[in-house]
């Protein structure tokens, strides 16, 4: 397994994909903090001096959830990492050197989680670097520990790692790269939103992968349809989605012939 992990790590590091998607993920995280801070008005009735909304612990945590705003890029990383094998037929040397296909997928899941975590760490640092001076300039002090800001950033980092794991799972299930990426985006941005607005389906909404990730991080949900899951429950559910997709993919397609 160590050999496979080294091999998969090299595959990642010898292409441009990882840093292109990292840049995108970090840019989106920074943008998310920026729009949230600049878009929140101080809210008090005219003539009164209301306290800045970001003195509230919940609003500080809400800013920190931006650490997972680039989750879709970690997801895309996982999908492309898996499907590129079939697209460029490197699946052949890969599965010739290691014919036990489950081990190859296992190594990819682990490396994807590490890369996703690195995306999350970088995003967290950038989010903190935007938050700290900006709120400081408003005279708001950030309760990094007391308000749970660091904990939220850490959970966002975990969410990024799991996004990449889910991506590998999608890629195992859907070998066609374009179909896998488009399908995943459609699910996240269209199908999940349908669950949120159709009353009959609202009860399931919080168990879908995207909402599971948001409940792990602690973001506000669009629609709840039941009690909000704890971060631990959300995290386990999200990871479960990734592993279930990989397992489904393995049973359905990895036993098929390798192209």
């Amino acid at each position: 397994m160590r050999d496979l992990l080294r091999s998969e790590w090299r595959k990642v590091m010898t292409t441009r994909l990882w840093w292109a998607l990292l840049l995108a993920a970090v840019a989106v995280a920074a943008l998310a903090v920026f729009t949230q801070v600049s878009g929140t008005s101080s809210g008090g009735p005219p003539g009164t001096v209301a306290p800045d909304p970001f003195t509230l612990a919940s609003n500080q945590r809400s800013l920190a959830t931006a650490g997972a705003a680039g989750g879709v890029f970690a997801l895309a990383f996982g999908i492309i990492m898996m499907t590129t094998e079939f697209r460029h037929l490197t699946s052949r040397p890969t599965f010739l050197v290691q014919p036990r296909r489950g081990r190859v997928v296992g190594a990819k899941l682990i490396v994807a989680a590490a890369v996703g975590a690195a995306y999350g760490l970088t995003s967290a640092v950038v989010v903190a670097a935007v938050m700290a001076p900006w709120l400081g300039a408003k005279g708001v002090s950030i309760g990094w520990v007391s308000n749970g800001v660091l904990a939220t950033l850490a959970r966002a980092m975990l969410a990024m790692a799991i996004y990449a794991v889910v991506g590998v799972g999608v890629g195992v299930l859907v070998r066609n790269q374009l179909a896998a990426v488009i399908g995943a985006l459609a699910f996240l941005f269209v199908i999940e939103d349908l669950f949120a607005v159709i009353p009959l389906l609202q009860g399931c909404f919080r168990f879908l992968p995207g909402p599971a990730a948001e409940q792990l991080v602690g973001s506000q949900l669009l629609s709840v349809g039941g009690p909000v899951l704890t971060p631990l429950q959300g995290g386990l559910l999200f990871l479960g989605w990734g592993l279930a997709l990989a397992l489904a993919g393995w049973t359905l397609t990895m036993r098929r012939d390798i192209p």
């Binding site: 091999s7 090299r10 460029h88 052949r92 040397p93 050197v97 290691q98 014919p99 012939d257």
Partner: protein, 313 residues
Amino acid sequence: MTAGELSTPAAAARVVVSGLTKDFGRLRAVDNLSFTVEQGSVTGFLGPNGAGKTTTLRMILGLAAPTSGVGTIGGRRYVDLTDPARSVGAVLEATSFLPERSARNHLRVFCAAAGVDDRRADELLALVGLTGVARSPVTSYSLGMRQRLSLATALIGDPRVLILDEPANGLDPQGMAWLRELLRQMADAEGRAVLVSSHVLSEVEQIVDRVVIIARGRLVYDGTLRELPGGREAVVLRTPTAGPARAALAALGAEVSDSDDASLTVTGLPIGAVGHACWQANIEVHELRAVGSTLEQRFLALTADPGQAVPPR
């Protein structure tokens, strides 16, 4: 694993295909195919395009699952090999690369997976003559260079068995000569078992010890090229007195045709009988030699005719 498998090196390098069959929906791509590739020999795996060669090789290599039958290397299925990279190296197609990755990085990726020292990547680049372009992306390589890189990938684990699918595609004549020499050396000096497929007999006829010929998924011939059936032995006779020679040979029941002014092509008589007939008829002979029908003709005859393609059951 049995002790017997490990104690005989020959068994470790023997490829045994037995009853291999593959259906794609209603199409039977490979039909009950059996043959053996021995250590220290080069076996040509021949057949027209679409005969089932690639599918057979993919089944041996565990990339495709047989509908029935089994292919083994040293007595084991590919998926059960403890160290596949050291047992088998395969060249399937010159396209299994990420375009932006360099040859050196490509080899290092698979050196890592095979648990082989990274220095092997540089050794192999030198062996296949890609050292100069080792750090350029594969997208800038010619087809011949990609074939060389495929071969280098196959050799990462210094395998006992080499399986090559149409390795001649994209190689120029110099590259082809280089490949022939390399494969011959691998079988002769290094005792490896080499299985090389081609749809063009002339590409491999100089290096193969044996050929396995298939058509429409079925075995049509397994043996040496010399014994390839369907050949009519012919004798070329050069003589200044073609007329009397023709008459003398025709009297013995031979078919005689003119090759050019001074020589006749005789079929239906062995070379000794032709020479004896000339001697008896007091005919001056300048040249007497046996020629076979070309291998290519025999190969085409074997693989083209559906009647002949079906082996007796």
